[in-house]
Amino acid sequence: MFNILLGGAAGQGVETTSAVIEKILKANGYNVFVTRDLMSRVRGGHNFSTLRFGRNPVIAHDHTVDGILAVNQETIDLHIKDLREDGFIIADDGFITDDARAIMLPMTKTAVELGNPRVASSVAVGALIRLFDLPVEALREILEETLKPEHVEINMEAAKAGYESVTYEQGESSRRKADDTDDKSETSQENAHHDYSDWITLSSSEAIALGALAAGLQFYSAYPMSPSTKIMEYLAGIQYEANIVVEQAEDELAAINAVVGASYAGAVAMVSTSGGGYQLMVEGMASAGMMEIPTVTVIAMRPGPVTGLPTRTEQGDLNLAIFAGNGEYPKMVLAVKNQSDAFYQTARAHHIAQKYQMPVVILTDQYLSDGTATVEPLDLSLIEKVRVSASDEEALAYRDDPANQRGDEKFGEMKESELAANEYKRYRLTEDGISPRLLPGHPKAFVSVDTDSHDEYGFINEAAEARIAQMDKRMRKLVKLIAEDLTDAEQIGTAGSDIVLVAWGSMHGPLKEAVNELAKQGVNVSALVYGDLWPLPTEKIKAEAENAAHIINVEQNFSGQLAGLIRRQTGIAMTDSVLKYDGRPLSASEISGAVLRIVKKG
């Protein structure tokens, strides 16, 4: 496995260059995992990508790097401390360093000679191609996909110049490192097939958009907010071919209320935001809970409070997602573990929202949203569309067929007599809490929903009995959900170990790698990584905690929100915590190092 850091100022094309390198590596069979470290500005400052790649799946970033591509001086100054001893630096010969590992190339000079100073980074790309012995001509196709046509040739020229400026020999040890499939730092052999050129490059932003489409998405609304905006931009870009409507709302309050309104009328609907914007959706979410309207809301987390660090990563919004809302209503909260999980979980979230007629929250974060991984092509055959009505041809005729109900399966029988007497009860009291749902437009039923306490028909009703009956009914959905649809944490490492690690969402990759690292050092740990978080599945943690000497939560936040939740639901307290809250992702080596320190202490 090999880890490259590419750095430059915003506006210097680091993003594009990063994508180009990612593509050429993958085209040549590597599996690549990319993280993006950005500043909240459009020009200037200092941004960088890390591209970690190898011949087995790469599931996490690392902060120690093997190679640096410096498009600005800061890249050298800030990151040289993270460069391995045997690493290299490719930099412009105008930059200043006395590091022996530096390969100084006339990047800017070449670019200026070619007629455009902005192609300097392609010189570095060319050098990289030579070092890893990749076919430089293959770059052309990638540039054609990535750049405007008029820029392809000049970048090819620059790359070729870079290619010529280093030698095959200079890359020997790097190549060996990148290709080493027995690499001690490998995290997983499960999917090892050594050539990933036919896999896909995916961020959780695209994965969530695609998962929603696969489940039948029709209406999407959002207000721009990093790091969630890419979902909107992806969906907006394809809306005409995808037959959906994507509408940028005037604010987050409008976005969530639009999704509630669209879903009430019968569209499969989704909204996304970051934790900051979700704070403005809390009331709308509660209204979906009370009115029993399926909604899926994505929170792409970034460090708070409030504006915080707009372009960085954190897992700080778990409490917010679970506990914000006045009064009490059923809802599900789940976190995605990696980019492909994001696809399948989003589809699942839509199915659950429809089945239980309630809001579902999906948590992702900047690490997965801006970062990309090389993953197996998504398997559409695993996903069904949610059922919008009995038959597609008749979606608008709303036949008075009892099957004409929203959701994934038959959930409570529709009383024929109800319809015959125009006595449809939107909130009929049922054993499992799920009432038969019709869509507005039905020729024999009025579909009435209400945020006031209501009776079975959906009329305002202030009676104590109505409140109790409807509250109980709504809450019964969670009983069913727990019985039928809840997935316990993923178990990694050695079950029944003395040391138990717990984590959630995007910590999956780094933790998995850390568990392997620890195992190689003779420390066997058991790790539980939670996807479903509310309601919280508790069986595995209870079993694992029983004999554990160390129970350690690994979270990307200040206070250990998962630890609090586990204790709330099970009484199990963590013995130690590994927490990081500087907006930069927690790496496997940080986790394993911290765990070793804890274990040694006692």
């Binding site: 029709q218 037959n243 409008a254 639009a258 009328a265 609907a269 009329f459």
Partner: protein, 296 residues
């Protein structure tokens, strides 16, 4: 207390039952409700094909009291929900009843956006110049100096004029009505519902319990239906009529259709909607597979 969905079974399905209301006797809302029923009956609209959307407030309870599909959502937020419901299923008629607080106070930002987005919904604003349900605070349309429990020294803000604002924002249909003139109001409502695009009818509605200034007779003395000479396709005339309020020259407050000019709607501009109701659509498996393949 409980009600049912039963309504008179009428072969033409355009009859509208009134349910038990919780309004105060004499409230202007009754006039609005009955004009609404008349308008819908005249238009021969099947109540099953209508969504009545409301937020929270006395006005916002209107959906509770009429036959039809009812969406009683959040204070100030019915407009975005209604707009999206219409986008989701264009085969339905979407009517929103808001209060002045609901529609222009808490919901002010959505009002701005709805006018500009021009989705084909009808907005009836029950303008009683007060917060009724919360027992009588000033609303955006309260008169300057209006005294309430929360504004004991009088309302200090410049009153909000919904019709001028809608016009200026680009609304194609803007009307002003009065709960005390049901005949006119019924006609305004019919025209508004028929209008293709966002249509606003701002309706003076006496709140007999809390507004002791803008009473039936206060309005009665001032309202003056626009005559034949008014050209509702002329923006300047519309603006002038909309700007005329009580501080004006004593000429009274013009009611009627101030402006009526169709503009490109959201529907017309969005190709997907023209293919059919959105809830019948979505991406094909093939298309999604293609998108996945593009990531290779």
């Amino acid at each position: 207390m409980s009600q049912s969905n039963v309504q008179e079974m009428n072969p033409n399905k355009t009859s509208y039952t009134t349910y038990n209301t919780a309004w105060c006797p004499g409230c202007g809302d009754f006039g609005i409700l009955s004009s609404l029923k008349n308008a819908l009956q005249d238009l021969q609209l099947d109540p099953h094909k209508i969504i009545f959307a409301g937020g929270i407030g006395q006005a916002a309870k209107t959906p509770q009291y009429i036959s039809g599909n009812r969406f009683c959502g959040l204070h100030g937020r019915s407009i975005p929900a209604a707009v999206a419901a219409k986008i989701a299923n264009d085969n339905l008629t979407v009517i929103v009843n808001t209060g002045d607080g609901d529609g222009f106070g808490e919901g002010g930002n959505h009002f701005l956006a709805a006018v500009r987005r021009n989705v084909n919904i009808t907005h009836f604003a029950h303008d009683n110049q007060v917060y009724g349900l919360t027992l009588g605070q000033a609303s955006p349309t309260s008169l300057h100096g209006y005294v309430t429990g929360s504004q004991p020294y009088g309302y200090l803000s410049i009153p909000f004029n919904p019709v001028v604002t809608a016009l200026i924002l680009g609304a194609g249909f803007v009307a002003r009505g009065f709960a005390g003139d049901q005949e006119q109001l019924t006609e305004l409502m019919k025209a508004a519902i028929r209008f293709d695009g966002y249509a606003l009818v701002d309706i003076f509605q006496p709140c007999v319990s809390f507004n002791k200034v803008n009473t039936y007779s206060w309005y009665q003395e001032r309202v003056r239906p626009l005559g034949e000479e008014h050209d509702p396709t002329d923006f300047e005339q519309a603006l002038k009529a909309a700007l005329t309020f009580e501080e004006a020259d004593g000429a009274g407050i013009p009611t009627g259709i101030l402006y009526n000019v169709e503009k490109p709607t959201y529907w017309e501009q969005h190709e997907v909607l023209q293919r059919g109701p959105l809830l019948k659509q979505g991406a094909t498996k093939e298309f999604i597979q293609e998108q996945i393949n593009k990531l290779a």
